[in-house]
Symmetry: C2
Subunit: 212 residues, 2 copies
DNA sequence: ATTAAATTGTGATATTTATCACACCACCCA
DNA sequence: TGGGTGGTGTGATAAATATCACAATTTAAT
């Protein structure tokens, strides 16, 4: 299990009692890069708080499509699984580990109990919802108003914020995340290369566009 | 102002003290159908709780585009304006009254105070975020995966749930809400008419598609 | 080293949506 | 009663994206 110091570092705004409750009742789980942690329609039995690594959240279509929404990093929680006061909730999203990860799984029963006991848990839940709500708004803005070239740029910038200027993704992976086809991404990346925005390599490229 | 009975009817899960606090510190405001209540980039100075009428929430583009996300009805709150713990927040959305409305405006300072004082306020905020978060997920699902014909059907169904089977909107208004052009909507509605899904009138049409 | 698999490049074509142009119709109202 | 005005219908065309086909290249595997 984690030490209380590690918890404090990840979740600095919590009360002492909450750290203790988490240590007592949450399970520390692990998953490998590439594992699917949650699928659309799956029942939610525990909340996920990221301890180590990165999770990607997707909207998932009935027939195989995916649309990338946002990353979850250590100290953040998956809003979808914070089903306080709701029972038998089904997941509306797809969650994938994209690095090896560790996360805390908190059974739904405690999530509700803690709402009554810990003010800092209450704040944490609200903060989580608010920040994810804002991410979704950005996603809608992109997909509703922008053409693929701009959406690709937005997508790459999110990658760069997460992992640095070298984007280690194949064209196919990017196409999947944006729910388009590999050819479209290849052609758009080629155009970006011509414009001097990226420097291409195999299985990766560098984002070198100057801002402004 | 409202009576405490009216408040109880709108917000049945609140504590007595919260009703009193709202009566004391919230302002009851009115607006006419068509008025814009909140614009993208505008500073948020108070939360909006709907008392009467219906508000439409949009994602707003820099150059005039709109994308309809969801309706807010009496007893519901605008998640964007519930900026507990956040200061100087700017609105990411556009909110329009589409009927004459009444709403309670709660200054940000009290929203934060009440988080400490009233458990039911805390729950209300979380519930609001959760339900709006789910609406946004549905919106992303439509716009990311569906073609315009399916998005139009989804849109019409939301209208029907709100106002009944007679949809009193011009093709232009629908086109604006879906960020497309009037011609596209006209042609798709014509197709729906041929399929026997709708019965067209001037400035309105009836949704008569049988489910399944 | 040679084959197999994965990745990328690119033309051709189809589909979807956007845009332009203009006709027609219903309704209001001076 | 005869224009306006706003709403709708529809063809032609352009632009964006999807799909298909296949070549070329790099990496991985035996």
């Amino acid at each position: 299990m984690l030490s209380i110091e590690q918890l404090k570092h990840l979740f600095p705004d919590w009360e002492t009692g909450l750290y203790e409750a988490v240590l007592e009742h949450a399970e520390l789980k692990e998953a490998y890069a590439g594992e699917i942690l949650l699928k659309k329609g799956q029942n939610i039995k525990s909340a996920m708080l990221v301890v180590e690594g990165t999770i990607k959240l997707y909207q998932e279509d009935e027939d195989g499509g995916e649309y990338f929404m946002y990353h979850l990093n250590p100290g953040e929680a998956c809003a979808v699984t914070l089903v306080c006061n709701y029972h038998h909730e089904q997941s509306q999203v797809l969650a994938k580990a994209i690095t090896d990860i560790k996360f805390l799984a908190i059974p739904v029963t405690y999530m509700e109990k803690w709402l009554n006991e810990f003010k800092s848990w209450h704040y944490f839940v609200i903060k989580t919802y608010r920040s994810r709500y804002e991410e979704l708004l950005k996603t809608i803005h992109e997909v509703a108003f922008k053409n693929m070239d701009e959406r690709l740029e937005f997508y790459i910038k999110k990658q760069v914020d997460q992992f640095g200027v070298t984007v280690k993704l194949t064209h196919q992976e990017i196409a999947n995340d944006l729910n388009t086809s590999r050819e479209v991404i290849s052609r758009l990346l080629k155009k970006m290369e011509h414009n001097g925005w990226i420097k291409m390599n195999r299985n990766a490229f560098d984002w070198i566009k100057k801002q402004n």
